[in-house]
């Protein structure tokens, strides 16, 4: 039964292990897919950061080369899964796009870079990107973006106690809010005025506040703010700010339709710029003044203004301003009906227009070629990204597959293990059960063995004691004493050793000799006996179950020799053979067959179990102690079937 279960379990285990190796192979092949995907690695002689920096420096002169480098680096870093390099590439792409006024794309790239930097917790990199995004957003007036990133920038600098920089960003926030949230805007500007120590920023904030007031139709407040800003700017000789405030004032008056004030402001602006030597700005303002006069049909005054500026026009290189000037002059001449002059100016005007066109076209061309390169690169990057997305999906899928496979392997492993453990437990259990059974069996057999252990035939005991009686009756003290001593000695030995499973051969021989002597005394007339022990036998080397030989001798006397007419002979010989001691008990009694024939029914009722007992004992001894004792019984004389020969081989 146990063997059968073992067999089934083994088959189970084997089939399982085959399944296991298969799934293992699957796992291996899926690993190979991963490897082949990432095999397109290239070695970088320059560090990626160096490459990126190099690309940035050469962008203006050699745009295509710069783009190529960035593209390469990007591919490389994507393949190498170097996220930081990838982010740097995006940042650079953003920068390039911003330079080519592709602000939307620039912002897209910057935000990508930003995303990675944020994930990688590279705070140092964040500020530059915020600034870049804000700058591009300002360029295309994306107010929400501006506010978002400038707030970040503001917090960044505020935390670092960099007041001017934080105020700068607050100012930008204020301007962005102008379109959507005037109160936020006002708050921002006020903050700048309170916090900043920079006059310029304060002026800008004032202008901002003015704009807020203007939008709220608080014209007086706006006017005073613009004027104050203007004053400070003039005092600080900050021309751009001065001009800005002039412009705002002019706008304010135009909105209110206060032409006098408007012209006055424009005049002030002209004077200021004229004095400062800003010919372009001066020309610009003179054009504006003239236009204002033209609107009021004050052609004479307009003409005066323009004529005053003719010299300045020659000095300026700004074609736009020139164009504006000639356009105004042309309009003026046409109004006055001075066709000749108008025609003259028109040619001048168209010449300027041409130069503007030319300049613009040149710029456009340069931009276009660069843009083309960049947009191509950008497209490739997009493709790369899509590719990567796909890749990631694929990888994700493979991972999932792998996970499932791993799960399967794990359950298989679990099953294998639990089966193995179960099998092991069964094995151990069956071993213990077997051992227990065996022990039980052995102890049972030992018990049986004990019960089978030959005790002296009570007949012998009492008959022997009766013999002592005879000495007493004869008043033969010495004989009685000797007989009783020998009998006691025999009893002692038997009692002492009958509990053992094995005793030294020497002891058994001693018991036999005592027994034979005593029996011989009783049946002196029936038999003679000889007892020979081969001197070469090392008696200490052999062990024998106690009282194993005695029954054979008893049988020889009682069933063989006692029936014989005349004296019989009994010989007990111990001889050393090659690998055993041969014990031969031979008598010349009537033989087993005749002895049996002599037995009457009544005698047969007295059971003689001596030999049967010995056989059972030897069987158990063979089982328990793995010791075999060969016993053969045969007739001494095979023809007459007389006498008995018992041969015991003791190994």
């Amino acid at each position: 039964m146990i063997i059968r279960t073992t067999y089934i379990l083994l088959i189970f285990l084997l089939s399982n292990s085959v399944g296991f190796s298969q799934s293992y192979a699957n796992k291996k092949s899926s690993n190979n897919i991963f490897k082949s995907k990432s095999k397109t690695k290239k070695k970088a002689p320059l560090s990626t950061q160096e490459k990126i920096n190099y690309a940035r420096t050469i962008f203006n002169d050699s745009t295509s080369k710069a783009i190529e480098i960035i593209e390469d680096v990007l591919y490389e870093s994507v393949n190498r899964k170097n996220k930081l390099d990838e982010a740097s590439c995006y940042e650079t792409l953003g920068l390039f796009n911003a330079k080519l006024n592709n602000h939307d794309i620039a912002i897209y790239n910057y935000e990508k870079a930003l995303d990675i930097f944020q994930k990688k917790k590279k705070t140092g990199k964040l500020i530059n990107n915020w600034k870049a995004i804000s700058k591009s957003a300002q360029a295309i007036k994306r107010n929400t973006l501006i506010i978002k990133y400038e707030t970040l920038i503001f917090d960044y600098y505020a935390n670092r106690k960099s007041i001017e920089k934080s105020c700068q960003s607050k100012l930008t926030i204020g301007n962005a809010y102008l379109a959507s949230n005037l109160s936020e805007s006002e708050k921002a500007f006020n903050y700048v005025i309170q916090q900043s120590s920079s006059e310029d920023l304060k002026i800008k904030a004032q202008i901002g506040l003015g704009k807020v007031a203007q939008k709220r139709k608080q014209f007086k407040k706006a006017e005073s703010l613009f004027q104050s800003a203007n004053g400070t700017a003039e005092k600080n000789e900050n021309d751009p700010l001065a001009n800005e405030s002039f412009n705002e004032l002019s706008n304010l008056y135009q909105e209110q339709n206060i032409q006098t004030n408007n012209i006055q402001v424009q005049q002030q602006a002209y004077d200021y710029n004229y004095n400062r030597g800003n010919s372009s700005s001066a020309v610009q303002y003179s054009s504006q003044i003239a236009n204002s006069y033209i609107e009021q049909n004050r052609t004479q005054e307009a003409m005066e203004v323009l004529e005053n500026s003719t010299e300045l026009v020659e000095q300026t290189n700004d074609f736009e301003i020139k164009k504006e000037f000639y356009k105004t002059l042309n309009t003026l001449y046409e109004k006055q009906g001075n066709k000749e002059k108008a025609e003259e100016i028109k040619t001048e005007y168209s010449a300027v227009l041409d130069s503007i066109k030319k300049e613009k076209e040149e710029k456009l061309l340069a931009l276009q070629s660069k843009n083309e390169l960049l947009s191509n690169a950008q497209n490739r990057v997009l493709i790369l990204e899509k590719d990567r997305e796909l890749n990631e999906k694929e990888i994700l899928l493979l991972r999932k597959e792998q996970d499932i496979q791993l799960g399967v392997i794990q359950t298989q492993r679990m099953i294998t293990w639990s089966l193995a453990i179960g099998f092991f437990i069964i094995l151990i259990l069956s071993f213990f059960i077997y051992k227990n059974n065996r022990e039980k069996q052995i102890s049972n057999q030992l018990l049986v063995l004990k019960s089978l252990r030959n005790q002296m035939n009570p007949h012998f005991i009492f008959n022997s004691l009766n013999s002592v009686n005879s000495f007493i009756a004869q008043q033969d003290e010495r004989s009685a004493n000797k007989y009783l001593s020998e009998f006691s000695k025999l009893m002692r030995e038997v009692l002492e050793y009958s509990q053992e499973d094995f005793i030294p051969l020497a002891k058994e021989i001693e018991i036999l000799e005592l027994y034979l002597n005593l029996e011989h005394y009783r049946f002196k007339n029936e038999f003679e006996f000889s007892f020979n022990i081969d001197k070469s036998i090392n008696l200490d080397d052999y062990q024998i179950p106690p009282m194993l030989l005695q029954p054979f001798i008893e049988n020889a006397i009682w069933h063989g020799l006692r029936y014989k007419k005349g004296k019989g002979k009994l010989s007990v010989n111990f001889t050393q053979e090659k690998d055993h001691v041969a014990i031969l008990i031979e008598d010349d009694g009537i033989g087993r067959e005749k002895s049996k024939a002599f037995k009457t029914m009544n005698q047969k009722k007295m059971k003689s179990t001596g030999i049967k007992n010995i056989e059972s004992r030897l069987e158990i001894i063979k089982n328990v102690f793995k010791k075999t004792l060969a016993i053969s019984i045969e007739d001494a004389n095979k023809t007459t079937k007389e006498g008995t020969k018992v041969l015991v081989k003791l190994h």
Binding site: N463, L465, N466, V468, S470, F523, N525, W558, Y563, Q603
Partner: protein, 247 residues
């Protein structure tokens, strides 16, 4: 003076007995010795002894064989045995005499005196005869048991005993003729004698002849009704044995 012979195979043992008889039993004379039953038979027919001292264990047939082979028995046997459970049972059944080896002189004297006394009273009863009958009878039921009474003996066929009941240290034997006999023997004594002759110890104090069971009544304590309509108890441990007998 009673004549005696000794039939015993061991010379030493014969010598002892002869010695003791001359010393301690003056009312008995030793008329001869034999070492086996064939010689013994001749000796008996020659001497016609009153007492035969007979060893049970001997080569060429034991003591019972001798009794079996004799046609008439007009002597009393005193068995001499070293150890024989089987033989002693048979001897007890007929209340014959026996002496265990090593011979106890008092026992020897006692046995001899009893025989002398019986002879003097001229009792017709001979336990040896009954023993010989028992040996010869093939059926157990026809075997006889001697029930010693204060005033003599009652011999009963084993088949006629319905049951034996214990009463303290006495036992009451119920026979199928309606008579009962009180004996100064324990029930255990009877159990040992009769258990192999169709009797069952159904209860601590009941030994029943299985042939005389008429009815069995189930219950907490089982009961059997015997052929004389008397009741005997059956303990739970004996129930199995009882059932085995009837199935």
């Amino acid at each position: 003076m009673l004549k005696s012979v000794i039939i015993e195979d061991e010379e030493v043992s014969r010598n002892i007995l002869t010695n003791y008889l001359t010393k301690y039993c003056p009312e008995v004379s030793n008329e001869g010795e034999a070492s086996n039953i064939n010689d013994g038979k001749k000796l008996i027919s020659n001497i016609k002894p009153d007492i035969v001292f007979l060893d049970i264990e001997m080569p060429f047939g034991n003591g019972f064989d001798l009794l079996d082979q004799l046609d008439t028995i007009d002597f009393e046997v005193v068995f001499i045995t070293a150890y024989s459970h089987y033989a002693i049972k048979a001897i007890n059944l007929s209340a014959s005499y026996y002496i265990l080896k090593p011979i106890d002189i008092d026992e020897l004297i006692n046995a001899v005196q009893k025989i002398v006394k019986n002879k003097q009273e001229e009792e017709s009863f001979s336990s040896t005869k009954i023993l010989a009958e028992n040996i010869k009878s093939i059926s157990d039921k026809n075997k006889k048991i001697v029930l010693p009474q204060l005033d003599g003996f009652k011999v009963a066929q084993i088949g006629n005993i319905i049951r034996v009941e214990a009463s303290d240290n006495y036992s009451i034997v119920y026979l199928n003729d309606g008579k009962k006999y009180v004996l100064s023997k324990t029930l255990k004594y009877f159990d040992e004698l009769l258990s192999e002759l169709g009797f069952l110890r159904s209860h601590k104090s009941h030994l029943i002849n299985l042939d005389h069971i008429v009815q069995y009544k189930k219950g907490k304590m089982g009961q059997v009704i015997m052929s004389d309509e008397s009741l005997a108890l059956v303990s739970s441990s004996a129930k199995k044995e009882l059932m085995k007998y009837f199935t």
